[in-house]
Amino acid sequence: AQSVAQPEDQVNVAEGNPLTVKCTYSVSGNPYLFWYVQYPNRGLQFLLKYITGDNLVKGSYGFEAEFNKSQTSFHLKKPSALVSDSALYFCAVKNDAGKSTFGDGTTLTVKP
């Protein structure tokens, strides 16, 4: 069975500092990994994905994520956080058949 773990319920950072939101996964076959963001009263929005190739993936709003096969991790990162990045972030793994499994989410709070 596939699974996703987001070990931190909450991440707090100061504006301008780098941020990391952690994700580890388990899946049979090729891992297709995704990050989604959920702002208050809005639907989940796609941020970025890893399919194959370069382990560092760049996405929307200056976010990037690093795929590490040996550690089965796909941590979300941003060099300089903005207050507007405050939201709920979900990591997801998808298998070859198209079935997605989501983590329980991490609330990111960026303080001015």
């Binding site: 809005r42 796609f46 399919i51 979900f90 058949a97 198209g98 079935k99 989501f102």
Partner: protein, 115 residues
């Protein structure tokens, strides 16, 4: 349409009643997914369709839950004899294909409250 549309946005129903939740995917998207999200948790897979057929319905919790997509576009999630434990936000998403490498586009969800 421009995005995935879910109706109603909110539904309050009495225990034991029947409800239908509708999802209108992005035009041309062949894959459609239903998830359930409870407070403090991530989306929980229920069922997904490729075209008109359910490719995987292993996430439906019991036989009170059923979903259809008769023409390969709009989908309806049907819940019979609702229970208070069914209260959650029901999310629909669509993607251009079922392949593992495609991202999903989500609707804003239907908040179901069973009283």
């Amino acid at each position: 349409g421009a995005g995935v549309s879910q109706t109603p946005s909110n539904k309050v129903t009495e225990k034991g009643k029947y409800v239908e939740l509708r999802c209108d995917p992005i035009s041309g998207h062949t894959a459609l997914y239903w998830y359930r999200q409870s407070l403090g948790q991530g989306p929980e897979f229920l069922i997904y369709f490729q075209g008109t057929g359910a490719a995987d319905d292993s996430g439906l919790p019991n036989d009170r839950f059923f979903a259809v997509r008769p023409e390969g576009s709009v989908s309806t999630l049907k819940i019979q004899r609702t229970e208070r434990g069914d209260s959650a936000v029901y999310l629909c998403a669509s993607s251009s294909s079922l392949g593992g490498n495609t991202e999903a586009f989500f609707g804003q969800g239907t908040r179901l409250t069973v009283v």
